[in-house]
């Protein structure tokens, strides 16, 4: 399976992320503030995050197996003492689907194993099924918040849920169980 690596967002990444901020589905699914922002303001805001906002916001670049930029993840609402933060994603249009779920897992893994975050807050607008199916969203949401955001001319309902250490452990156990089952099926077929 191909891997996704997480690295710090740099000034060289700003043009790619600025273009993403202006992309239509990004604006509908996350935020459309870039519509009314000048290019210079978008660049200045991202530079400020790189240089000054380490305590309250961090952006990371998600890279594919050839170090190509797949998209970005960023954390906000950081509470270092409680070890919690909110995690957001923006995957470039050409990589949505294939790398999306792996990129999400890589970002969660980085926050847990390097930044020592214990609880990660997820928020997805109800109509956004780019990284989660509608069924999965409905199943895992803990808070449903109507009129949460106004993007591209519509009020949006938002789903919130948390990912805890127990969630991660259970996910790893399910993945390992599936892996073992598949391996046993393959072995059984070979010996048959």
């Amino acid at each position: 399976m191909f891997g996704v690596t997480v690295r710090h967002f740099t000034q060289a990444d700003i043009p790619v992320r600025t273009a993403l901020l202006r992309e239509s589905r990004f604006q509908a699914n996350l935020t459309d503030f870039a519509v009314v922002a000048e290019d210079d303001a978008l660049v200045a805001g991202q530079r400020r995050t790189i240089e000054q906002e380490h305590a309250v916001k961090r952006i990371f670049t998600l890279c594919g197996p050839n170090d190509q930029v797949l998209g970005f993840a960023w954390i906000t609402s950081i509470d270092w003492r409680s070890q919690t933060c909110e995690l957001s994603f923006g995957v470039l249009p050409e990589y949505r689907g294939g790398f999306g779920a792996i990129a999400v897992a890589a970002a969660h893994d980085y926050l847990r194993t390097e930044l020592n975050m214990r609880v990660v807050i997820n928020q997805v607008l109800e109509h956004n099924t780019m990284l989660h199916s509608a069924e999965a969203l409905a199943a895992q949401q803990r808070v449903r918040c109507p009129y949460d955001s106004y993007t591209v001319g519509e009020w949006r309902t938002s789903y919130y849920w948390t990912t805890t250490e127990d969630d991660v452990r259970q996910h790893h156990e399910r993945t390992e169980t599936r892996r073992r089952e598949i391996a046993e099926r393959i072995r059984a077929r070979r010996t048959a």
């Binding site: 710090h8 967002f9 740099t10 790189i50 000054q52 380490h54 961090r58 194993t113 390097e114």
Partner: protein, 185 residues
């Protein structure tokens, strides 16, 4: 980003070289260059695993801007000797004491740095806080540092808490006959 060469001719110049003693010890490089904070941050990132814990910093969890800002805040001096990075930070409560860091097991560049700090910056006490298992521990041991303590579970990295070993050396214990701070004027 700026690299300057340390010379021993004046305190403001910048190259410490050790050509006279290079043949007497196994060393990959004895030419030490001082890095400005931005260059030091870039080299720390390039050092990969060896850069983690250097002067308490971590390129995996801190971006270059934050690394540079922290180095400036600590008044750190960072030097490059080939692929090896060396660092010193003055102890604000004891100006004759410096915290020392290194990224490899090569003792000779470290010995030169200690000589420079001793001779030119009047340091007489050196403390190194080294992540358990780090290769640079061998360099400190070779330069006369003694282990004086263990900070249990002092840092978090790669999903686990990690011990940090505390080493100490005093002026005079690290110098060898071959490694007096020679100078290129």
């Amino acid at each position: 980003m700026v690299e300057t060469t340390l010379t021993d001719a004046t305190l403001t110049d910048t190259t410490l070289t050790n050509a006279a003693s290079a043949s007497a010890v196994e060393s990959t490089c004895t030419d030490i260059r001082r890095l400005d904070p931005a260059a030091a941050a870039a080299h720390l990132r390039a050092a990969a695993e060896a850069g983690r814990g250097f002067l308490g910093l971590d390129p995996v969890t801190q971006n270059d801007a934050l690394l540079a800002a922290e180095l400036a805040r600590m008044q750190a001096q960072v030097f490059r000797a080939g692929d090896m990075l060396l660092g010193s930070v003055p102890n604000p409560d004891q100006p004759r004491q410096a915290f020392i860091a290194a990224t490899s097991a090569d003792p000779e560049p470290l010995r030169i740095l200690l000589g420079f700090l001793d001779t030119r910056q009047r340091c007489n006490s050196f403390v190194a806080m080294v992540p358990d298992g780090a290769a640079c521990a061998a360099a400190f041991a070779s330069c006369g540092f003694r282990q004086v303590g263990v900070l249990r579970d002092h840092r978090y990295q790669s999903g686990a808490y990690q011990d940090v070993i505390v080493y100490h050396a005093e002026s005079g214990f690290f110098a060898s006959a071959d490694s007096e701070v020679p100078c290129s004027a």
